[in-house]
């Protein structure tokens, strides 16, 4: 058994052993061991490849973009995903457009690790899940694993990918344990975690655990649900999504961040814009997302900003019976 946190470290370590051009840049990733203790003693195993930076997110991310264009495979750790605002320019205006705007002369294999999500009581500037804000930037890829095995394989795949990849790691998943599968998981492939005949629940990252719990609750009501873990948020695995929706004719999307212009909205669009999938629907798509407020500090209030399994099960059951 290995934790989600250890899986990330193992992926970094294995890639660093394989390729001396893989480096990790970030604040306190060295002796300190990473703000969330993800890197630990990685600096001892790979003293040449773990590099502490000053508090200059825009500067060192831009620097990583330049080095990636030259042939390196840098991984950048942004301490809290909320600081994405500081790397928007190097990532969206530069990394994402490098291959295109150079007419294919350069590519930009940079991986950005973004610890995200609420539940830690860090307040509204340390608990966001910003994936929605990146999803319409052409040229980026985005992954958001929900278990240690996927974290391991997707991080390795992100580093090996010749494009910029945003790796969203939910902070509340760091303690989740699991085995690392021998089967690698590719970027762009969703996973069907369980199959049921009545409804297809689609989710990603921490909310996958809410989705699985929801499916268990629904079973008591004799409602059997398929659960899909998107794993990759961009490009979406539309084939798996549509195929599994068509089997049940009903769909619910559960995500932690608020639904406005979010990943769930995009999934819904991919379902509704495909004629055969749309025709297979017996009822409207159930969208369940977090509240559209900044995340409150207070522990009880913070909990209410993301969907819980009881609420999800009740909304889904109501929709099916309607």
């Amino acid at each position: 058994m290995i934790t989600f946190r250890e899986a990330i470290k193992k992926a970094l370590s294995d890639e660093m052993s394989l390729d001396s051009q893989v480096v990790l840049l970030g604040e306190d990733v060295g002796v300190y061991g990473g703000c969330f203790k993800v890197t630990g003693d990685l600096y001892k195993e790979h003293p040449n490849q773990v590099i502490d930076t000053p508090v200059s997110e825009e500067g060192f991310t831009g620097m990583a973009v330049g080095s990636a264009m030259m042939g390196m495979r840098p991984v950048v750790e942004i301490m809290y995903a909320d600081f994405f605002t500081l790397i928007f320019d190097p990532i969206v205006n530069h990394a994402a457009k490098t291959h295109f705007m150079s007419g294919g002369q350069f590519c930009c294999p940079i991986t950005v690790r973004l610890p995200e999500g609420s539940g830690t009581g860090h307040g509204a500037q340390h608990t966001q899940s910003p994936e929605a804000l990146f999803q319409n930037s052409a040229g980026l890829k985005m992954v958001a694993p929900s278990c240690p095995s996927d974290a391991y394989h997707l991080l390795r795949a992100s580093i090996r990918d010749n494009n910029p990849v945003l790796f969203f790691e939910h902070k509340m998943l760091y303690f989740v344990e699991g085995e690392i599968s021998k089967e690698p998981l590719e970027i762009g492939k969703a996973k069907v975690l369980r199959e049921g005949k009545d409804i297809t629940i689609i989710s990603y990252s921490r909310a996958v655990h809410t989705a699985l719990e929801t499916a268990n609750l629904l079973e008591k009501d004799n409602i059997f649900a398929t659960v899909i873990d998107l794993c990759t948020l961009k490009p979406l695995d539309c084939t798996t999504i549509r195929q599994e929706v068509k089997k049940t004719g009903r769909v619910a999307i559960i995500q932690d961040p608020n639904g406005v212009g979010g990943i769930g909205a995009q999934v819904c669009s991919e379902i509704c814009s495909d004629m055969t999938t749309f025709k297979s629907l017996k009822s409207p798509v159930v969208q369940i997302g977090g509240k559209c407020t900044p995340v409150p500090f207070s522990k009880d209030l913070e909990k209410t900003t993301v969907p819980n399994a009881l609420d999800c099960a009740s909304k889904i059951a109501t929709a099916i019976k309607a």
Binding site: P47, T53, G59, M63, S67, A68, N93, M101
Partner: protein
């Protein structure tokens, strides 16, 4: 305010203390050729825009030829540049084919970026040109990244080490083979990305030349109104690197200063900030009516045209005759005209819509 006074005052005295005496006829004409190619390229570009043959906008660098040609002339193979949006002169002087540059502006497949970039984006990996960022100041971290790569390849971790408790600032300085040049304007000197890059380059002693092409205006904003310090170069002190302001309209001074900076950087001492004072004699872009500056100021700088100054110097020093210069001008103008003509003839060759979509992502084969 001494440096500002210096750059605001007309340079009436002849160019002194340059390295011309040490040069032969061939190399001195090479320098002139680079400046002429840049000038004729800009003039042709303006003509094509006025004729409605080029889409979009363009940023001409007339008047800045010494700053652009001088830098490129002084660099060696393997030294990378990251230019500004005003990139034609840098691109042509680094060795790119003007045909591919005109083709880029015509949006054809023969362009440096297959017509996907345009006037502001002319990357050319075969000539160590990363291409420009059109976000003012954002190319600077990229160039710092090239320096990081350069240092990482040549000396491994020395300078970055997390594993030891020693301060990387105190590590022995090892020579590096190549440098990168972060080119930026006076406008960009106020960007946080530029300051963050300078700090990063300084703590890790990265082989990067911060090259501030101070053409006096960020669009309409005069640099003496927008910059708190007496010069951009004086900011080098804050990052414990050398900083120097030089006359950017004297190509020989530019070459000498860049060579000096390069040898300092290549010895492993870390970054260097060079500010070259010049003037863009045209507007910011094609829509600029230049309401923010006086005709007298423009005339003062036109009188200090870097090409005319250099030509005068060549004749005075007896390195060539006026007739030879005129012949070279005719020859270079024809050369540029022919490149433009051919690019125009081929300008209908476009990437297909399908090809464009395929350019969004790199494939596995792009880098094994």
């Amino acid at each position: 305010m001494l440096l500002w006074n210096l750059c605001r005052n007309p340079y009436k005295e002849p160019l002194k203390g340059t390295v011309l005496s040490a040069m032969n006829k061939e190399s001195s004409l090479d320098i002139l050729r680079l400046m002429l190619d840049s000038r004729f390229f800009e003039e042709k570009t303006e003509e094509l825009f006025k004729a409605g043959l080029i889409h979009g906008t363009t940023h001409l660098a007339n008047g800045q030829e010494a700053a652009q040609a001088g830098l490129c002339y002084a660099l060696e193979d393997g030294d990378w540049i990251v230019p500004t949006h005003r990139c034609h002169g840098f691109t042509i002087c680094r060795g790119s084919d003007p045909y591919a540059m005109f083709s880029e502006m015509f949006g054809s497949i023969h362009g440096l970026a297959k017509g996907l970039g345009g006037s502001m984006h002319m990357p050319d990996s075969s000539h160590w040109n990363l291409g420009s960022s059109a976000v003012v100041g954002s190319g600077v971290p990229l160039a710092t990244g090239i320096a990081f790569w350069n240092k990482f390849q040549s000396v491994g971790n020395a300078g970055f080490a997390t594993s030891s408790f020693a301060n990387p600032k105190n590590y022995p300085q090892k020579p590096v083979k190549n440098i990168s040049v972060a080119i930026f304007g006076d406008g960009a000197s106020s960007r946080g990305s530029v300051h963050e890059s300078m700090n990063l380059a300084s703590i890790w002693k990265l082989p990067v030349l911060f090259y501030c092409e101070n053409n006096q205006y960020g669009m309409s904003a005069s640099s003496d109104k927008m910059i708190s310090s007496s010069s951009v170069a004086s900011r080098a002190m804050a990052y414990e690197m050398p900083g120097e302001t030089i006359d950017g309209n004297d190509v020989l001074k530019v070459i000498a200063a860049v060579k000096k900076a390069c040898s300092y950087i290549k010895a492993g001492h870390g970054p260097y900030l060079l500010e070259v004072m010049t003037y863009r004699t045209k507007g910011h872009s094609k829509s600029d009516r230049r309401l923010y500056r006086t005709e007298a100021e423009e005339k003062m700088w036109l009188d200090r045209d870097p090409i005319k100054l250099y030509e005068k110097k060549l004749v005075e020093e007896g390195l060539c005759t006026q007739e030879e210069i005129e012949n070279l001008e005719i020859q270079r103008k024809e050369y540029i005209d022919q490149k433009a003509q051919k690019a125009l003839l081929d300008s209908k060759d476009r990437l297909s819509e399908c090809d464009v979509e395929e350019m969004v992502y790199a494939t596995k084969e792009d880098r094994e």
